[in-house]
């Protein structure tokens, strides 16, 4: 191979690698990105059934109900305009409690309830999910930590 050609080949390969990465990434993003929903969105447009999504809001006061097996719970997520019932099996995060912010990862069921596979709660008294802070009146609190 002539030197000039080798350089050109390398440059073309690099471009192909970048394009390949973008193509791969974008095609995978199409069906793997988890969109964020607030209860109000679901009330308006209906739930996206059978897709991995995130549901965010506040845990409604008095809504946490422990199930007999001791490791499952049901609770209600609200954003002030609508509510969604959520069921979850597992150890709840340290700061998961009624009246505080939560982001649930999981799927919607056909009956508009939500099955969470994972809960992210605030790790700090000062934290509130940005999505929730936006919908409520009052200044946004300092965003400090969220369970990764």
């Amino acid at each position: 191979m002539k030197p000039k050609h080798q350089r050109l080949t390398l440059a073309l390969l690099a471009v192909a690698a970048v394009l390949g990465a973008s193509g791969l990434a974008l095609s995978a993003l199409k069906d793997q990105a988890a969109f964020f929903y607030a209860p109000g969105d679901v009330a308006k447009a209906g739930p996206p059934v059978g897709r991995a999504v995130r549901l965010g809001g506040m845990v409604q006061q008095g809504s946490i109900a422990k199930q007999p097996d001791g490791v499952s719970i049901r609770f209600v997520v609200t954003d002030g305009t609508a509510t969604v019932p959520v069921s979850f099996r597992g150890v709840t995060p340290d700061l998961f409690r009624e009246g505080s912010g939560v982001v649930a990862e999981g799927m919607f069921n056909a009956d508009r309830s939500f099955t969470a596979s994972n809960l992210l709660a605030k790790h700090d008294e000062r934290y509130m999910p940005p999505q929730v802070a936006k919908t409520e009146a009052g200044p946004m609190h300092e965003t400090k930590t969220l369970a990764p």
Binding site: P3, L10, L13, A14, V18, A21, L24, K144, T145, A147
Partner: protein, 654 residues
């Protein structure tokens, strides 16, 4: 007084960085116009350039002084300083007062510039083989990078700001950060980031003086290697820290901040391999410079992601939007400037030596390309939610995306990695290479057959992962066959051990994802529960008091099989009063073949306690592999430095 002295040291360091940049620029300009002999406009270039080194040394020492003074403020719990009040508490154990100095936004940025300044000091003292003009250009580039960060500190994140009147006590440090990991993890990663910026400065220096060649590659290589070792250690330590501290049993979450450290590592890994080609074979010149630019850009993107407050995470301290835009401006300025310089000067970089497709160089190019593809996927997956958020769409990109998109490419990379070291430089015979590969291929096939027979089939990615790990392990040690082990150079050992580390780590990841057993129960006292080969019995719950926390501690009696000896694990649920927070302290039993991981959950009010138990076979291999990779890097670095020193001595002797 300490705070004011610290601020003064910081201002002086910033001024010296400015001076360093100006002197380097003037010196280089004069040097370029200097006539070959006699008097002329360029006279004095040597004197000006001679001043750059001492300025760089003093600049680094002043930054170090500022950092030391900040640590002193934290250790003394000086509550008249804003930063101490916001992030410390007089009750905190001494270790966390000390490391708490960088457990916050301002302190961590100060640590960044301190390490950057000290890197400049080190170059100024030890680098002797690079042509003088290139060295001065390198120090100038270092000063330019440092200057932006000094400005950032002084104008928008002053760590030494006073609070008047002084507070009675501080607000405390985030309990998740109150861990020995904090003393170790951030400095390690920062040394890695900064080391990459030094490599980038070398590339800029070489571009400015049109001096891209083996000499430049040899000067840059130890910095790339060093940075890469520290990044490897930082990522490995961070992964283990998250694993035991967060109590989720996972070791990698594809969290944006994790990706922020993974992306520079991927780029540095590619750079590490191409710089070797440039140093020993004088090939891949423009390619190596481009990778240095990419690696630096990734470390800047990483700093931006973590420090701008654009992400909500345990790492994101900054929330002031002006800070985010300041870092974004720095990011665009540096990456844009680097790409511009690259575009302007790359035409002057001559073609290096060439090679055949089937050769060591060819495999290294494949390595670089595959690493770049993975890097691109991680970058897109990390930035996509941020871009989407700018358009008002809330979404998150998690493990399913990264596993699906990057997993197969990573396995392909592992396959290339097994082949590469068995190929000859310049040109190799495909047939002969295939013969050399027969044993590793046989080992991989055997491993897959064994896994299939024992388990009866597992998910495809872990299955391929286990097979490739076995093949790679065999191929990694192959370069040592038929060699006199005592005369094998240290850097060959380094390569062998680092590649072996990848195999070990991959085996751990595959084993963890394929064979982990999980049990989640609400346990009554005295009730036995099974997880994997273990029986776990809750004996009771008792309160425990620590230095600045109180806790509920479970006593778990555990035994393996039906006749193993009983031993005790004590997971805790801890309560911190400042700031008020609860954390789970997992209790982990480490065995040769894996870890038993236990977490105490909440009580259900009827005498039952939630217990989450995992049996994770060979999970420790993940971090053991990481340590081996870093060890391989260290051996390689030692071998290179030693050989280079011998070369310098030989030259001096002549």
């Amino acid at each position: 007084m300490i705070a004011e002295a610290g601020l003064a040291a910081l201002w002086l360091a910033a001024a010296l960085a400015g001076l360093q940049l100006v002197l380097a620029a003037i010196g280089l300009r004069l040097d370029a116009t200097r006539p070959a002999t006699g008097d002329g406009p360029g006279v004095g270039a040597a004197e000006i350039m001679a001043a750059v080194r001492p300025v760089a040394i003093v600049q680094g020492l002043l930054a170090l002084l500022a950092m030391a003074l900040l640590i002193a403020l934290f250790v003394r719990s000086d509550m008249s300083v804003q930063l101490v009040v916001a992030n410390s508490h007089s009750d905190k154990p001494l270790l966390y007062k000390f490391s708490g100095a960088w457990g916050n936004h301002e302190g961590s940025m100060l640590l960044w510039v301190t390490i950057l300044g000290l890197a400049g000091t080190t170059i100024a003292i030890v680098e002797r083989r690079l042509p003088r003009a290139t060295l001065i250009a390198t120090l100038g580039a270092q000063a330019a990078i440092a200057l932006g960060f000094y400005a950032f500190l002084l104008f928008s994140s002053n760590p030494f700001a006073r609070l008047s009147p002084a507070a009675p006590d501080g607000q405390g440090l985030n309990p998740l950060l109150q861990d020995p990991g904090l003393a170790f993890h951030p400095p390690t990663l920062y040394i890695g980031y900064v080391g990459i910026s030094v490599a980038f400065s070398f590339a800029v220096g070489a571009l400015i003086t049109r001096d891209v060649g083996p000499a430049f590659a040899r000067a840059m290589r130890p910095w790339v290697l060093g940075a890469w070792i520290f990044l490897t250690l930082g990522i490995t330590a961070g992964s283990y820290w998250a694993y035991y501290e967060l109590g989720w049993g996972g070791w990698w979450f594809w969290d944006p901040v994790e990706n922020a450290s993974l992306m520079p590592w991927l780029a540095a890994t590619a750079l590490l391999h191409s710089v070797s080609v440039l140093a020993t074979r004088d090939g891949l010149r423009a390619w190596t410079v481009m990778l240095a630019v990419v690696a630096f850009s990734m470390s800047m993107v990483g700093t931006f992601l973590v420090r701008s407050g654009i992400l909500t995470s345990v790492h994101a301290f900054a929330v002031d939007p002006t800070r985010g835009s300041f870092i974004l401006a720095l990011l665009l300025l540096y990456i844009g400037g680097a790409l511009l310089l690259f575009g302007l000067r790359i035409g002057t970089v001559r073609q290096g030596s060439t090679f055949e497709l089937i050769s060591r160089e060819g495999a290294l190019v494949a390595n670089n390309l595959l690493l770049s593809v993975i890097l691109g996927i991680v970058l897109i997956g990390t930035l996509y939610p941020i871009v989407a958020a700018a358009f008002g769409v809330q979404l998150s990109v998690g493990p399913p995306f990264f596993d699906k998109a990057a997993g197969p490419v990573a396995l392909l990379l592992v396959a290339v990695m097994a082949v590469g070291p068995l190929l000859r430089w310049r040109r190799d015979d495909g047939q002969a290479a295939l013969e050399r590969m027969m044993l590793p291929i046989a080992v991989a096939a055997l491993a897959m057959a064994a896994v299939f027979i024992v388990t009866g089939g597992i998910a495809i990615l872990p299955f391929l992962g286990l097979g490739l790990a076995a093949g790679l392990a065999a191929a990694s040690v192959a370069p040592l066959w038929k060699r006199n082990l005592r005369r094998t150079p240290l850097f060959t050992w380094g390569m062998v051990i680092a590649h072996l580390g990848i195999a070990v780590s991959l085996a751990g990841m595959a084993s963890d994802s394929a064979f982990t057993k999980e049990t989640l129960v609400a346990a009554r006292v005295g009730e036995p529960h099974r997880v994997g080969p273990y029986t776990v019995r809750l004996d009771g719950i008792s309160p425990v008091i620590g230095a600045n926390w109180s806790a509920l501690q479970a006593r778990l009696s555990v035994r393996r099989g039906d006749d193993g000896a009983w031993f005790v694990l004590r997971p805790q649920s801890r309560f911190f009063s400042s700031p008020p927070t609860t954390t789970s302290e997992s209790a982990i039993a480490t065995r040769l073949d894996g870890q038993l991981y236990t977490v105490l959950g909440a009580p259900d009010g009827e005498g039952r306690w939630q217990l989450r138990l995992w049996w994770k076979p060979f999970v420790t291999f993940i971090w053991l592999g990481g340590a081996l990779i870093a060890l391989g890097g260290a051996l390689s670095l030692l071998g290179r430095v030693r050989r280079d020193r011998q070369a310098v001595l030989r030259e001096a002797y002549r």
